[in-house]
């Protein structure tokens, strides 16, 4: 017999994997659009630290002079992005899945501890159920960023119809910059996400496909669920008012 935890409900897995190609198309077509007017850069005094983007970057990706194509893909796939996002948020809320996702007041301290652990500066990581504090903050932020992309997007897509929204976001030019920064955020997230998924290993990755993870009953790498945050010795017993769980002490799955 194998002990499995049901980690990701089917709906969440669909939303996750649908979002991947859809967001890819949105970012790619967004780049085709951005190329046509690409003024953003990070400057220190007169010294340009980063330019978004150097000509070689566009050339390498072959995205020049494709504004019309970019706009077409962007305004077609916006619908899938919005629909998938609305369904995801709705499902998360109705199913109660949000309890795994929304950070609480402990999440920020946990996130620091997790980061120190990931950097090798701390021996143990705080216990968690599905996502650790850093993950909760990250995944929740990504969801809020998605909402932000839709709002900043519509502020520049329909600045007359939604002029209230455009001015709320600081004007047309500001909204375009915000839309761009959010996109950079996704790219940064994507890189970190991939690194972390690789670090967490196959068992974690495959759970986003299968939904479940096989856990070893007494894996020393998996901190016990009830281990206190303050690094006290593990309590081997079940919590007092633990629900009608099976015999062995509940084990929580590894990273991510």
């Amino acid at each position: 017999m194998k002990r499995i935890v049901h980690k990701h409900p089917l709906a969440i897995r669909w939303f996750h994997w649908i979002n991947f190609p859809v967001l890819f198309v949105m970012i790619w077509s967004g780049l085709l659009i951005y190329w046509a007017y690409d003024p953003y850069k990070i400057q220190i005094g007169d010294y340009t630290l980063i330019s978004f983007f150097p000509d070689g970057f566009y050339k390498f990706l072959g995205v020049q002079r494709r504004l019309a194509e970019g706009m077409a893909w962007h305004f077609v796939f916006q619908w899938l992005f919005i629909l998938n996002g609305v369904l995801y948020v709705g499902y998360t809320f109705i199913s109660g899945e949000w309890r795994h996702l929304v950070p609480d007041r402990n999440s920020f301290r946990e996130a620091i501890q997790v980061t120190l652990y990931d950097l090798g500066l701390r021996k143990t990581q705080p216990p968690f159920i599905k996502y650790n504090g850093a993950q909760k903050i990250t995944y929740f932020s990504i969801m809020i960023m998605g909402v932000g992309s839709v709002f900043t997007g519509y502020a520049i897509y329909k600045p007359t119809q939604f002029s209230w929204l455009t001015s709320l976001l600081g004007g047309y030019e500001a909204a375009r910059l915000e839309h761009f920064i959010l996109t950079l955020g996704y790219v940064v997230f994507f890189v970190i996400h991939i690194v972390q998924v690789i670090r967490a290993g196959w068992s974690n990755f495959q759970s986003m496909v299968t939904g479940f993870e096989i856990v070893k009953p007494n894996d020393p790498d998996r901190p016990l669920m009830n281990k206190p945050v303050d690094d006290q010795p593990d309590t081997p017993t079940k919590p007092i008012d633990s629900p009608v769980e099976p015999v062995a002490p509940p084990i929580k799955p590894a990273l991510s």
Partner: protein
Amino acid sequence: MSQSAKPKSAEPQLPEDNIPESIARRRMIKAFGWFALASAVPFGVYEWVKNSVGAQGIKRPLRNVLNVNEAIARTYFSDTHLIPTFPVEAAAKQARINGYDGIKSPIPEGWKLQIDRANATPLLLTVDDVKALPKHEIVYEFKCIEGWSQVQHWAGARLSDFMEKYKLGTHSGNVPNPDNTNDLFKYVGLETPDKEYYVGIDIESALHPQTLLAYELNGQPITAPHGAPLRLIIPVKYGVKNLKRIGRMFFADTRPRDFWAERGYDYYVGL
């Protein structure tokens, strides 16, 4: 953070099961099989779009959705929402010039605005005829489809006043009434005198109170590169629809040809 202290909204434990290894393996194979099949869908969609026939510079499926977007906008959005305006001081002293299509030749001598009418001879009008109408100024953020924008100060006659004065845009030849949509033509077409640049505009946007036949920029007569003697200023559209040096105006129920829409851009480009 002990379990008992947690409120009811506390994060629940993940459900667990004990299953035979063979079943776990079978579930895994099944899930990855579906995953592989589903992964083919995005590639299929891409290939389908890529191999579709073209529709004016972009693929037919993309064009179809852009047309649906237009239908949604024209159904649910207001035709009279105003674009925000700015104080005159906010306007750029040097308005940006971006594009010479249709105005590469000199302004024709004895230029007149030609307006084609159903069941009547074309009207030929001068700038003074347009100036005879009430003058309206607008300081607003001009938006280029490329992504840049600039606050600019334009002045001219409302296109709606012009159409009312000359009884244009209706099948009946009466004054256009935005509520009597059956009588209105669906589109206005505009062309430069050399017919090298041309746009089509939905009649609702043409009748928008901020749409001008403009003859002044920053209080001065507009210069040739900005579209002298008369150009369209239509703030509810991207710059591409703001045709310079209007030569001919006509009305139609089908989409007039449109320079940038033929090159893959959305036809409607309503803001």
